[in-house]
Amino acid sequence: MINCRDTVERYALEVERVAQELLSLFAENLHLEDADYFKNVFGSEPMNSMRMNVYPAFPRPDLVLGLSPHADGGGVTLLLQDDETVGLHVRKNNQWIPVEPIPHALVINIGGMVEVIMPIAPFCFKYFIS
């Protein structure tokens, strides 16, 4: 038997580690002088919130969507997809592309707060869940 609190706490530490590594890599790839650039922006204890979602099957998909098209706010989203269902789609060249799940992979989406800090390119993705 496992308990939710213990599992969530251990998972939180791991995703924070991955998020910090990603932000350091972003800084490096953007040729920012300081590899800790984003660490400094978000502070020593950045906000971390977890959201678990379930999108039940619905007989009238014309009436509902799991989640409407949106872009993420915040810093960076690390998403664990369901392994069996393709829900997530991303917008590319005016088309919705399904994101095929890779077992145990994380989907990385860059949020609005990091996007505005990065003056280089449009970073923010619009996506929806079917």
């Binding site: 599992t7 969530v8 580690r17 991955v18 509902v64 989640l67």
Partner: protein, 90 residues
């Protein structure tokens, strides 16, 4: 245009922990409604168990259940809303 969106596999999070967190989520949503509602949000705070809401009249209804838990910083963590029913790892 450059796209900064990716799936990463070599993230170092043990697969066993990923299986655990998925099992925890699945078991929570499979609980009876009364049990899930023990995690209902308090006083307009978005943490807890609930549904997405419609914000615009022309918006398609979002159809989903969610559980939101703030993890950090510690002072915004509300453990009272965290599920307590243990998960049997398969």
């Amino acid at each position: 245009m450059v796209y900064y969106f990716s799936q990463i596999v070599n993230h170092g999070i043990p697969h066993s922990l990923i299986n655990e967190i998925k099992a925890v989520a699945k078991d929570f949503f499979n609980l009876p409604l009364e049990e899930k509602q023990k995690s209902a949000p308090q006083r307009g705070n978005p943490q807890g168990y609930g549904q997405l809401f419609v914000t615009a009249e022309d918006q398609t209804l979002d159809w989903g259940d969610m559980l939101v838990l703030f993890l950090r910083p510690n002072q915004i963590k509300n453990l009272a809303l965290w599920p307590t029913v243990p998960t049997n790892l398969r």
